[in-house]
Symmetry: none
Subunit: 195 residues, 4 copies
DNA sequence: TATGAATGAGCCTTCATTCAT
DNA sequence: GATGAATGAAGGCTCATTCAT
């Protein structure tokens, strides 16, 4: 008797996940071009051929890894409308992002690096475009509550500041005084940036 | 009649430069891994073998490209002590950076992307470390003149904001409203950020 | 209630046929090496595994396809001894062959191509050997009735001419003026070629 | 000092020829799909990579092999206008073709087989198209001298007969009585086929 | 100094075939 | 009888690097 559809789906779900995780880990550690499908298969404990049963190509693999990461980031964003004040909300967003980046340093580094590669040009514009708007939208809402003059642009600047910090952190490693900068930002946004 | 020592050195200097420029151009357009030594040699109008006479390896080539780029950036920074007011100086720094990035978009994208790749990890920390300190130092001086409370951290934040914007611009392409954001920043830093 | 032996056999017969037809269709369209077992299974609406329940290997599959095709050709030959004149019979054979090839162009192309591949060398000699003799025998009989001098050789030449035309048609496609050539042959064999 | 242009060209010419010959030999013996670039390189005594310095792809290799073969065939055709009679010329053409095919049996088998494969469809139509016209043209001229009624079509039939014989010979191997058939044809075309 | 033929390791990908269910 | 997940060998191709000239 063949396996039931459900059994197969479960198997596929699990195997796919194993592959995805191995790929993410290795890409992050050795870079996209530094990681071969062979490496991934070995790490995932499967045969090279099987990887292609789950992903059409190495490039599609990386695409799915991206979607996964983006999704995770969106999911980790704090729910709105359950804060005492917009300040608190802004602080939480900040805190959240810092935590997320700290916890998955290599992955963020990977994400940044991958989407800056010329061969990804078009794809990155498309994927990041949507994603960026969602995140900026969230921050914009907070600034609106704070009655800031140009909330959207203010949100963009805020976002740039955060990503810039992450970037510097990646580029400088432990030399970067991330805690000090973080504290400074908290202080800076304690009072409304501009009325 | 053999060439004089000086002639030989001049030839070497020129050839090396030709190679560096071809490499930079191609890396920027097709990515580091998307560009072969063959491509570079062809573009530079020399033989593959000769390239190895000037650079030990592809990886050393990329290193030298970096130094070149960083140097250029430092050189383009405005001279201090010739401004009427610190505001003006800050504006000029801003303007300068925007201009630089706009003019060499692909190269910056390349620089960012390369230094985020894991294989560059150690090297990037080292090179970027020095460079970062120089730039932040410049900005810090301005903030000091403005009598800002924590000028170094403020400078770090300012720098993060700029690089964050560049990053977003690279990731989003023309979807990113860079002019609007720029204007907002100018306005924001027209008055002292914090006393 | 389990199936009866007869039902099972009927199912097997049908499934096998489905597979054979899918294989034939795909081989003809994409070539033997261009068609995977996966392709065939998908087209036949069965699983890859099941195909191996019916055919030991891809190569055995192709063997059976051949036998099928050869059989079909033999079956389509006109019955002897019901013609008014040998001329009429020869014409009918000609007509029959032209029709057959035209109607199954891709298959003939496949047959020719497959049996010319070195890996088929021995097998093709064996299978085609018998088949050739049957066909030539038929034609020979007609030539005998026509009282031709060397009827067997004449039949061989006649057969070569037909297959040569088919070959040229396959190699040249619509550039080949098949109708004109056909007409010429009809005319040529209207009178006894040689007495 | 680098090699002179002439030296390089000579090297390339020789190496290319070595590869071409190894490829032809192996393709003929084991088929196109049965022969790997590795096989060819090993046989030619070079590295796998070098083969790609000379041929863009396996498929381009086979193309060049074809052109080579076709050229050879055309070159081997007897010069016109130096025969006492058209009969003699026709005989020589016949003789020539028989000799050529006999001498390079495997190659002709390869040629036929390759150009019947669906993946070659378009290319074969194009290449064979020109080639066919040249050959048929030659034969047509002879038939014209013989004052045959429809010389072009008669030439097509003659050509079909020849290729059909070759085909049968390939399909049947030594079972095919090629000498007998040949003799018959000679006899058949001793007198003008049709006035 | 300069050339480009040559190497060889390694990569992505395909696919016939097996086997647990 | 039937399924499709899994295997593993093999193949086409690329490219940094070397070296004879």
């Amino acid at each position: 008797m063949p396996r039931t559809k459900e059994q197969n789906e479960e198997i596929r779900r699990q195997t796919k996940n194993t592959i995805l995780n191995s790929a993410l880990k290795l890409f992050a550690k050795k870079g996209f071009h530094g990681t071969s499908i062979s490496d991934i298969a070995k790490d995932a404990g499967i045969s090279k051929g099987l990887a292609y049963n789950y992903f059409e190509s190495k490039s599609q693999l990386v695409d799915e890894i991206f979607e996964m990461g983006m999704q995770e980031l969106v999911n980790s964003m704090p729910e709105e409308d359950k804060f005492d004040s917009p300040y608190e909300e802004l602080n939480l967003i900040l805190e959240q992002i810092f935590k997320l980046v700290k916890a998955n340093e290599e992955y963020w580094r990977l994400y940044f690096s991958l989407y800056l590669q010329p061969e990804m040009y078009d794809k990155s514009h498309e994927i990041m475009g949507n994603f960026y708007e969602v995140l900026i939208g969230k921050i914009e809402k907070v600034f609106k509550k704070l009655d800031v003059k140009s909330p959207k642009n203010e949100a963009r600047i805020f976002g740039a500041m955060l990503d810039g910090m992450a970037l510097h952190y990646f580029l400088l490693g432990d030399k970067y005084p991330i805690s000090a900068v973080k504290k400074e930002i908290f202080r800076k946004y304690q009072s409304i940036p501009e009325k």
